[in-house]
């Protein structure tokens, strides 16, 4: 039997060779490349005005720049956070929407329902509270393995949503309105209609998160995560304090999820429990795995796709969720590691691919 992987090998090789080309660039070239990409991204709300590209990227029925912020930025932030939990530490979290909800609710409570803090001040508080929730959920449950953790986290997400729905103090099913907006700065007015300032803010948050996560990933903590993901028992034997690092993964993931919630609450100004359904957790997970679990840039791409494609496909409004489901299956059948799989050393890569060839019935 041929052992050369699947028919997407050319695609994978293309990605690999782009990656290799990138790695061969010198410092100066790399930085200018980053700069170009980042500037282009900041200009994304105007892409629809570009002659040929505009009609291709524009979303029918919905405002492109609103989609960029409300859907794409939120999904990218969340995917980045969830990637730490699922992709790096290998912990299957089906209730990640819970942290997103915590971030949004803390902001809502502090700036509207029970307080009058400015949005900016609520941000660090909400992030810290989200991390606390990460610890609260993680500490008792991280001893559970794989699929048990999945259902427990799923339950956690539901508990958060239902608690918000049933407690008057949290606005119950009415939700919380009049959430404060981010402060106007550099001439950017954070109003109700124009989504562009929120997008700039969101993109900035994404870049900061990417930078921070990048640092963490290549630190001792990141290496410990990889060790846990590959073989938890072996990691434990090697002296990695697995519980501590798993908890860290959970907490950092929660912080990013919470941050996304803060950004969302500040943008929409009104939240209610129905904004945080269980299905959203599943979409978040789909984003991470679709893009390439374990690779930050894969997670970003996955977030963009899962958020953007259904909006782009609004033409066949009621069939787009069906199409999305089928696309997920097809993607997993033909590119199971995601679009941008995690990049590993060449030797390691070979070993990994060959071990995936083992034909054991799972």
């Amino acid at each position: 039997m041929s052992t050369i992987g699947n028919a997407f090998a050319p695609v994978r090789d293309a990605f690999d060779s782009i990656g290799d080309a990138f790695h061969r660039m010198n410092q100066w070239q790399k930085y200018s490349f980053y700069a170009i990409v980042i500037i282009a991204l900041y200009l994304a709300p105007f892409w629809t005005d570009i002659p040929v590209i505009g009609p291709i990227v524009d979303t029918p029925g919905t405002q492109f720049s609103t989609v960029l912020n409300d859907q794409v930025i939120i999904f990218v932030l969340v995917a980045l956070g969830l990637n730490v939990v699922v992709g790096l530490a290998g912990l299957l979290d089906l209730g990640y929407v819970g942290f997103y909800a915590v971030g949004a609710y803390v902001t809502a409570i502090l700036t509207s329902a029970h307080g009058n803090l400015p949005w900016l001040l609520s941000l660090p508080i909400a992030v810290v509270v989200s991390m606390l929730f990460g610890v609260i959920l993680g500490a008792p449950t991280l001893r559970l393995r794989g699929d048990y953790l999945a259902i427990v986290t799923l339950g956690f997400g539901e508990i958060i949503r239902l608690t918000a729905k049933n407690m008057d103090w949290l606005g119950a099913s009415r939700g919380i309105s009049n959430i404060k907006k981010p402060p106007s700065i550099f001439g950017l007015k954070f109003g109700v209609i124009d989504p562009k300032p929120y997008y700039y803010l969101g993109l900035t948050l994404v870049l900061i998160v990417v930078f921070v996560l990048h640092r963490i990933e290549y630190s001792r903590v990141g290496r410990a995560w990889v060790a846990i993901r590959e073989d938890e028992d072996a990691a434990e034997l090697m002296g990695v304090h697995t519980f501590k690092f798993k908890l860290w993964a959970f907490t950092i993931g929660a912080a990013v999820g919470g941050l996304a919630g803060v950004h969302y609450a500040g943008k929409v100004g009104f939240i209610n429990p129905d904004n945080f359904p269980l299905q959203l957790s599943i979409l978040f997970l789909a984003a991470v795995v679709l893009g390439g679990s374990g690779n930050m840039y894969g997670a970003i791409l996955g977030g963009v796709l899962v958020a953007y494609v259904p909006e782009r496909l609004r033409n066949f409004a009621d069939k787009r969720v069906f199409v999305f489901g089928v696309v997920l299956v097809l993607m997993m059948v033909f590119r199971p590691e995601g679009i941008l799989p995690k990049r590993v050393g060449d030797e390691h890569k070979k070993r990994q691919r060959s071990s995936q060839n083992e034909e054991v019935a799972q």
């Binding site: 039997m1 041929s2 050369i4 992987g5 699947n6 028919a7 699922v86 008792p140 449950t141 001893r143 559970l144 393995r145 699929d147 048990y148 999945a150 259902i151 427990v152 799923l154 339950g155 956690f156 539901e158 508990i159 239902l162 608690t163 729905k165 049933n166 269980l278 599943i282 997970l285 789909a286 795995v289 679990s293 496909l313 033409n315 066949f316 009621d318 069939k319 969720v321 069906f322 199409v323 999305f324 489901g325 089928v326 997920l328 299956v329 097809l330 993607m331 997993m332 059948v333 033909f334 199971p336 590691e337 691919r353 995936q356 060839n357 083992e358 034909e359 054991v360 019935a361 799972q362």
Partner: protein, 374 residues
């Protein structure tokens, strides 16, 4: 004794809790069987149940031609006719669920095991052509025709890709499952005759009280559900423990590699496993429509999450655990609702799960399909 609602209505809550719990348990069996054999959360199992409810809907409305109402009243049947109708509906629901479970395995899982075959390739090819044609034309009939034409060449190339197949990582199975689940539910929601609305199923069983339990009237449909579920579960346990294929299922669950060496056809066993889970879900679906006489495209989701919770609560991979978990969950939900109010029902269910797993990390009865014995 304090005069609490839960105490006043204890037996009432118990009967209805056991009935709902029996349905949870039957669906939980599907999760547990597949998990036991493949170590895979078959996320789309909930939709297998949903398909079963539509199977019983079609059975009563199309095959048996029973109207929803006769002169403004339910079309009750009695005696042998009733039994015959119920059996026909049960079998058709089981066939619907069983076949869809097996198809699901072929399309969404088997190719990921690096083992795809022509049925999976054809189905995936058809779906590919269909969604691609959807982008250009939004007319279902035309789409179907285009897709049928394009199926063969695409299937051929898919089959070639399968041939070079390799095994996908675990997470990919879960996402594929989620995708399949979404697609199945949405397909019914989009192309079903009532779309996303509720469907009513004909009620042929008059819901009479059959006996009185500590002052609570127990209705015939609840008795049928509980007894039916127990019978089906016993049949399944006997099958798994006493038959050759059943032994194969247990063997693969415990050690797939050795099973192959001893001549067990693992692919065959996986099909059997999905079929068994599907048949149980079909039975659950028939019992469900018997009590609630309605269904909907998204009916599987909540019930699926609950049943999966039940499976984990009892110990996933463990047949007795599925039964115990289902019944416990049904009861806990009902008692909890009486104490804290219905809106906290799901919170209570998940909290119980959390607490149980903290003290017993592999559920009430622990894992392992192989160890599940009568």
């Amino acid at each position: 004794m304090p005069d609490w609602l839960i105490i006043r209505t204890f037996w009432d809550l118990t009967v209805t809790g056991l009935a709902l719990g029996s349905i949870y348990a039957l669906v939980a069996l599907g999760y547990t069987l597949v998990y036991g054999v493949l170590r895979l959360i078959n996320f789309a199992h909930s939709e297998i149940f949903m398909v079963g409810t539509f199977g019983s809907l079609l059975a009563s409305s199309q095959f048996l031609n029973i109207p929803l109402l006769e002169d403004g009243n339910y079309p009750y049947r009695a005696g042998m006719t009733l039994i015959f109708f119920l059996v026909v509906i049960l079998i058709i629901a089981m066939v619907f669920s069983g076949i869809s479970a097996v198809l699901l395995e072929r399309v969404a899982y088997r190719p990921l095991r690096g083992n795809g075959d022509s049925i999976g390739a054809v189905a995936l090819a058809f779906l590919t052509a269909f969604i691609v044609s959807l982008i250009f034309i939004d007319d279902t009939q035309v789409n179907v025709i285009i897709s049928l034409v394009l199926t063969a060449p695409i299937a051929y190339s898919y089959l070639r890709i399968f041939k070079r197949g390799r095994k996908a990582p675990r997470l990919a199975f879960l996402i594929s499952a989620i995708g399949a689940s979404t697609a199945i539910a949405e397909a019914v929601g989009v192309w079903g005759t009532h779309g996303r609305d509720q469907y009513q199923t004909a009620r042929i069983l008059e819901k009479k009280t059959v006996f009185n339990l500590f002052g609570t009237d127990v209705r015939i449909d609840y008795v049928i559900v509980i007894v039916g579920a127990l019978l089906m579960m016993t049949a399944l346990t006997l099958f798994v423990n006493k038959t050759r294929l059943g032994r194969g299922v247990r063997a693969v669950a415990q050690d797939a590699e050795t099973s192959r060496i001893l001549g067990v056809n693992v692919d065959m066993i996986i099909i059997v496993t999905f079929a068994l889970g599907g048949v149980m879900a079909g039975g659950a679906a028939m019992l469900f429509t018997l009590v609630y006489d309605q269904t909907r495209f998204n009916i599987g989701f909540i019930l699926g999450v609950k049943s999966f919770t039940a499976a984990v609560l009892g110990g996933i991979g463990n047949l007795k655990g599925a039964l115990l978990g289902g019944l416990v969950l049904g009861l806990v939900e009902n008692y909890g609702s009486a104490i804290f109010g219905g809106q906290w029902k799901d919170v209570i269910a998940f909290t119980v799960l959390l607490v149980v797993l903290m003290f017993r990390p592999t559920g009430l009865l622990g894992e392992s399909l192989g160890k599940a014995r009568v």
